[in-house]
Symmetry: C2
Subunit: 492 residues, 2 copies
């Protein structure tokens, strides 16, 4: 491991390779035998479980309930919403048969041509169509509204270039689908869920995000508005980390979902959908981690504190005895503790491994510490070590975990804020954007200008940010008048 650790590419050398290395070496995930699909390993999955747990709680607090809808969607459903099919039909896994049979030469199995489906089924790339086809039967009157369901599931989009967590053919996510009586209510819901995502990203992942609304080009296929949270990675690129869509009445019309209003008149229902995925784990890794390995926010770390005794025989036994009440007290305080007294690995190996894995706090106790009534504390975010009295260590560690959570957020925010530039000159932009960063630029609102920027710089309009004071100006590319600044950046 110590050797392997050395082989972790440095961020400055090759950021992209550093990420790929880290995902594998820290036991987060690995490529599977299926093109573009990853195996999420136990350590990576434990982070996803913690994310799920908190998000699920936050969703339920808004009144959403969980449900489950079919994995396979009839092909004809996809065509019902014109823009939706454009956006998703291109890249999907198609089930055409329902049986295999043994080959005649018994060398294996082959598709049984007699078992061809009348209508092909699509592995869901997202579930708007099957859910709205179901909602049709659930919604009759204004009393049935709002209807707010969420599902935790797997989805599949046939991606040509994949990277673990960031872009995989199959990924895990949650998708919320809500139905409302009025346009205002649906718009409010879409914005409310964006705020839930932003709160989760900042308070739990310690990832600062910019909230905003997408340009028409970048909208979800079938939406009237797509709200987004955009995070900045350490290479200055943007990572879209969660989206919430105001779908208008598009899906209600496509699937004929109406309700009787209080005047007993039929009206089409208003819709939203919102989702975050295992991509969040990619955001987490890329925002905080360093050349020594992962740096995890304490609130989502599978192991929050690791304790390593350095001693053998009787000394080890005495150290363990001294630490037992400490471990119990930490666990009682709700902290996940691992006590690593395994004797088949050297302390140096353990230290490197827990650094690689991003365990926020490491406590070490040797024979001399025991004698002195002290313990060594290391925090993963700054790698600072100090020796402290064992008395009061539980309270100290509790506070330290909070400090780390706060510190890595502040650090990421300072890093990002130093890389947000107002820019008025397209030539300057073209040069500067190569080094990453978020560019606050005036935009004339046309798809032509947007396309030109993308073609010439690979950068895209990430969003019209909320909470930024907007004044009219001039588009840096076309010279035409602009009402507002947008954030332009290269992205994942």
């Amino acid at each position: 491991m110590a050797k392997e650790l050395k082989e972790l590419t440095k961020r400055a050398e090759n950021y992209s390779q550093w990420f790929n290395d880290l995902v594998v070496k820290a036991d987060m995930a690995e490529q599977s035998a299926v093109r573009g699909c990853m195996v999420i390993k136990p350590y990576g999955y434990a982070i996803w479980e913690k994310m799920q747990q908190q998000l699920d709680k936050m969703f339920k607090e808004t009144g959403a309930q969980n449900a489950y809808f079919p994995l396979l969607i009839p092909k004809s459903f996809l065509s019902k919403e014109a823009e939706h099919v454009e956006g998703f039909a291109k890249e999907c896994a198609v089930v055409t048969h329902y049986r295999l049979r043994a080959k005649e030469d018994k060398s294996g199995v082959e598709v049984d041509p007699a078992a061809k489906l009348e209508e092909e089924l699509i592995v869901r790339p997202t579930s708007e169509t099957i859910i709205w086809n179901t909602y049709k039967n659930w919604i009759h009157s204004w009393r049935d509204l709002p209807l707010m369901c969420n599902q935790w599931c797997n989805v599949m989009r046939w991606e040509m270039r994949t990277r673990p967590f960031l872009r995989t053919s199959e990924f895990l996510w949650q998708e919320g689908h809500t139905a409302h009586a009025t346009r205002e209510e649906a718009e409010e819901e879409a914005q409310k869920m964006l705020k839930v995502y932003a709160k989760f990203a900042e308070e739990w992942m310690a990832v600062p995000v910019i909230q905003g609304v997408k340009s028409e080009t970048e909208r979800f296929a079938g939406a009237l508005d797509t709200y987004t949270i955009e995070a900045m990675m350490q290479d200055g690129k943007a990572l879209q980390s969660g989206t919430s869509h105001f779908l208008g009445q598009n899906f209600a019309k496509a699937f004929e979902v109406t309700y009787l209003n209080k005047d007993n008149k039929p009206e089409y229902v208003w819709a939203t959908s919102w989702g975050v995925s295992t991509r969040l784990i990619g955001a987490l890794i890329m925002t905080h981690s360093d050349d020594n390995g992962l740096v995890l926010p304490p609130r989502l770390a599978p192991i929050q504190v690791v304790i390593v005794p350095i001693s053998k025989g009787d000394d080890l036994q005495h150290i363990t005895e001294r630490l037992t009440p400490v471990i119990e007290a930490l666990r009682k305080a709700g902290i996940t503790v691992k006590y690593d007294d395994a004797d088949n690995k050297r302390p140096g190996f353990k230290f490197a491994d827990y650094e690689l894995k991003g365990v926020p706090v490491r406590l070490v106790m040797g024979a001399r510490d025991l004698e002195n009534g002290t313990i060594e504390v290391m925090r993963r975010d700054t790698l600072e070590k100090e020796t402290r009295p064992i008395e009061g260590i539980v309270e100290y560690v509790e506070q330290l975990l909070e400090d780390i959570q706060k510190n890595i957020f502040e650090k990421a925010k300072a890093y990002r804020d130093a890389r947000i530039y107002e820019c008025e000159n397209y030539e300057e932009f073209k040069e500067k954007v190569k080094d990453g960063g978020f560019f606050l630029c005036h935009w004339d609102g046309t798809a032509e200008t947007e396309a030109k920027i993308k073609e010439e710089t690979q950068a895209t309009i990430r969003c019209v940010p909320f909470g930024v004071e907007q004044t009219p100006g001039v588009d840096m590319v076309s010279g035409k008048p602009s009402k507002a600044r947008v954030i332009i950046a290269r992205s994942y």
Copy 2:
């Protein structure tokens, strides 16, 4: 709803129809637009979430960790274990293409023939093959063992005749896959997980189960032994509710998974797998529910206590004021409470609805109760009502929930035990098995006898039960000697 409730088929009339009706009317699940796939509605899904939460805790206590493996399995993987492919290749959804395109006449989308996969992918019917192909890279030495992963996911088996929860083409489940250094350890693990399932079924679902081992014919495809828990439904049929498989070295050999033992010599790894699915919800419904609707065990009920005030205006306000501390105290005790003061539904309607939904305890308070300091308590399992002082009601309800949990288990156990018959005579068996029940019969151990029984009576050998004193005897069909009695029954 009151009207709809009346339409619930009586169990005595048509047990099967009663189940189908109940699933839909109690908002548990419904058929989807995709053949054989159901939509699990929020109320049904809430039960699944409670099951998951408890099972997940129990799995983790055994040392298992969660992970996630790909949905799609390369066709060639299925062929690697000879029996496995026999058992699963017949009934599977096959992905052959990865893109759709617009039809020329723009009337919809069609499969793009240019996007044909080189090797077809199978929607997982179970994940032994892809997981063992992954374990190959995770297991090198005895230090890497045991390896115990579980995944919560969807799987797909192309069933011709489906019923909600009991047999659906897609279903949700968990599958544990463990790797061990020795045969003994793997066998022990398989049996340990069976006990976990039995404990969960009995203590959480309040469903008594018989633990045992399957006959060779009924084994999982690729296993050396399949352990099972078998529950009896109210029609006397068996429902296989969970299985745990000792897989020997079959998958290790098929995927070349070896480890270096302490003498540094390569050996094949020993394996188990174990799973339970949304079928458990079917077992839950069919074991306890009655002609008025669901009866849910308090430990898994999404709502444990419903409180309905019967009054309007000022009285309602006073009742709500009086009940607020009660509700708070119940919630503080960890009880899920719904306070239903909605004024758009009559109390009678509410009562029928909560009975249908199986809420274990109903509290009702009217103006006179408020005056008298009393509250009406109804328990769903017996439908008994009593009026009690409001003082001490929290402790009373806590105890009542425990009593209900215990009572429905005892009731189900008594029902089952009264329908377990020792039977020595095949003619008598043939007649009696039509009315359901578990038959403890001697069996000569041959597949021929087993097939004959199945053909002539539709009954199958459910298991060789554990914990039954076995004495040698004579097979009731063949007259040949038998070492042990098996349980024979018709089943779902």
